[in-house]
């Protein structure tokens, strides 16, 4: 492909989206700049911090390592859409109750990453939770409270599946 601009059609948070995008534009920039979905954050732009984590066809990806043009025909879910659906309401409530966030900048990515682990079922150990969150940087909490919150939700879901 030598064209710089491309037409893409995708589904974002359940809404059909058609846009013309610059080939170099990342998915997270596309979400934030073209669709005003600012809940996905840009922290490092080189795939380390995880603040840009979104779901692409049901799997979490780094919004800064995915190009928007790659998402033609795909389904994308962001923190805004997932919040409105209520599918991680228990996890969000646990984060609030446990103060598992401070500045909140990492939180959307952290929640989507933790949700993936919880959706896999089973009762993860604290080590497993820490391992699963290993690609999401939080400068504020020291992680302990995040692990507590995820552990509490796993326990609650195991009791009331």
């Amino acid at each position: 492909m030598t064209e710089r601009f491309h037409d893409i059609a995708l589904t974002v948070n359940g809404e059909a989206v058609r846009e013309r995008v610059d080939a170099r534009k990342t998915l997270v920039d596309f979400l934030r700049e073209d669709l005003s979905l600012t809940g996905s954050h840009v922290g490092c732009e080189h795939g380390v911090c995880g603040a840009c984590t979104v779901r692409l066809d049901g799997v979490i990806v780094r919004g800064c390592l995915t190009l928007a043009v790659q998402c033609d025909g795909a389904t994308v879910e962001t923190i805004e859409g997932v919040s409105d659906l209520g599918t991680i309401a228990d996890l969000q409530a646990a984060f609030q109750a446990r103060n598992a966030l401070q500045c909140g900048f990492c939180t959307p990515g952290m929640l989507l990453t933790a949700a993936e682990l919880l959706d896999a079922g089973a009762m993860p150990s604290r080590e497993k939770i820490r391992e699963h969150l290993s690609g999401n940087y939080c400068r504020c909490t020291g992680y302990h409270a995040i692990v507590d919150a995820v552990e509490a939700v796993a326990r609650a879901r195991a009791k009331h599946p």
């Binding site: 934030r32 809940g39 400068r139 507590d148």
Partner: protein, 798 residues
Amino acid sequence: MKIADDVPSALSALDRPNSYIGRSVPRPNLARLTQGRAQYVSDVTLPRMAHVAFVRSPYAHARIKGIDATAAKTVPGVIAVVTGAELEKVITPWVGVLTHLKGLKSAPQHAIAVERACWQGEAVCAVVARTRAEAEDACALVVIDYEELDPVTDPETALDAATPVIHASLGDNLTFERKYEAGEVDKAFAEADEVVETTFRFGRHTGVTNEPRAIVADWNAGDARMTVYQGTQAPHMMQNLFAKHLGLEEHQVRLLTKDVGGSFGIKVHTYADEMATVALSKLLRRPVKFVADRIESFVTDIHARDHRIHAKIAVKRDGTITAFEIDDLTGIGPYSVYPRTSGIEANQVVNLVGGPYKCPNYRARARVVFQNKNVMCQYRAVGHPIATSVTENLVEMAAAAIGMDPVEIRRRNLFADDAYPCASAAGLRFEKLSHHASLDKIVHMMDYDALRAEQASLRARGIHRGIGFASFIEVTNPSAAFYGVGGARISSQDGATVRLDATGAIFVATGVTEQGQGAEAVVAQCAASAFGVPLDKVRVITGDTDNVPYGGGTWASRAAGIGGEAAWQAGKALRANVLAVAGSILQADPKALDIRNGVVVDADTGRERIGLDEVARVAYYRPDTLPPGFQAELMATRHYVPRAWPFAFTNGVQASWLEVDTGTGFIKLLKHWCVEDCGTVINPQLVDEQVRGGVVQGIGAALFEHCVYDERGQLINGNMADYLVPMAPEMPDIEVGHVVSPTADSELGAKGAGEAGTAGAPGCVVNAVNDALRPLGATVITDIPLTPDVVLGALGKV
């Protein structure tokens, strides 16, 4: 999930009915943060907004011989290409000095370099375009003719006659020097049973806030006003500085700060690229946005630490510590950072070394020198991690030298809990600390004896674990002694305005700012408790210089202790005002009334008399029914600043339990404990989380974080793949305990808690590693970050 018990406290003047003081209530702003509905500055867009990107110097030191923007100006979307010389006409340079740091000197710094770049990453040209991407495209086409100059990179030789002077007008590369001596130091060393002498090296590191620095400046030529959306800790300070250097009146500048993606002291300084952004908005008469990318953050966000300290301690056979001596050298980059200066960290090191101990003999020298690297300035726990490491590492080395347990040597030397008020050898005045109670508590929490037994039994099996401690003190609730007396227009006082709305809820406008630490929650708790409404009837307003009382913002662990007290006092004042109205309506003595749970009641019986909504209705809509001459005042403002003590010192102790793999040098952190005393605990959960987050930041410094420069002044690991930060798998669970010694300087008695974790963790972890390695005959480690390479070096394996 371990949520701290949320039960009403049972005590004192703070024990008002339905008090929220001492309760772990959730922060009001968490719902929006968990739903992706926050508003960080990087999210802000405005009509006609343009984006700026900067061409940055690739050299640590270079003369700028020419800038050719011809090609850059032809890039689609480019609005303007602006050099330092052009921008100098819009914004004046600044000099980062304070008069109370005697002799501190620096040179004028420009928003964009003029004629000379002094560190790798300094902005030398700005490109403004419709999008950031277009601005970056054009940056690549700006041709700059540099003449590389010799950089000054090694602080050890910065003052040598053969080393070039970075700023000729200053005469030498010495920024600041302080010497201090107390007691009979030479005598103490001469009479000591053991003297331990070593050199400590602390790596440069930086804040790595998850949201990089971000600013949107909007000069409205019609209003002749500059509105600045900035992720800052100190909106009023920035209002003053933007006005001053743009030639505006302060009232022409409005600072707006909503959600901030992490600060830690990174976002409390003046940054040249942010000053340039504001100036560009004025020049171009439109909004201009700048968000640092991560690579820019590493070369422009302030760095910190980078101290080399020769140090020694004198100890008697019975464990009595008789003297401390330090010689500190630190390189702070080419400029002292404006307006807080880059002399404070070294000054704090001199102040804080030996601080927990009653040892009267102390000698210190600190020298701060210029160099051609990114600037250094105040970052979370300023000076504390260095002073605490030096002190606590020396104490445990002394204990090892005389064969004494590290807990025991502390018991013999820490200031007694009944010794207060008293002062340290460095002259710090302590109102009330609790070193011994804290030490007793941590020993109990960690089950110290059992841990020592476990360590011994594992050692026999070739598993090498270590236990380390660090007692510490922390500067919090600073009075004007910190900056104000030195001439900086940085407020140490803070205010709160509480207003009753027409339905019985209250609005609290506060000068302190929310950086994620929970200031909004604490201010709401204080106002709600003092006034008498449930928390869901409180709305807190922060970060708007047009609408909040004048204040200092968030730094030096001041938001809860100072902002909370102002909110408490304002809540009380509004209660009196509202009860005056209620008394008038009810024909009752206001003194016999109280407000509880949003209802005016009889103070002695609790009988409900009238709702706040009804009081507000009468006052706002039917004031004609109130007695002639009676004016309801349903808004009250109070300010607070500590007056009796220059700082409210806190104290505490940390302990680390870890395992060292002697084959690879890897360190596994198993558990960490912290007991701290921040006086009255307004929200236990928020305090615990400040401690935990702080500890991990300190662990990052101890084990991972290091801005590595080569001899030409090039930062060689300035990205998140090469600069390591603590991630979840490597971090331990952290247990937090409290001892409570309130300050009598305020009614609440709250001191700060934001930096205790960061202050103690590095020294504590280093002690634990040395404890693990000592029986193996390893050399004592005194350098951080303590990487596997350092461990293997200590073991003689590399």
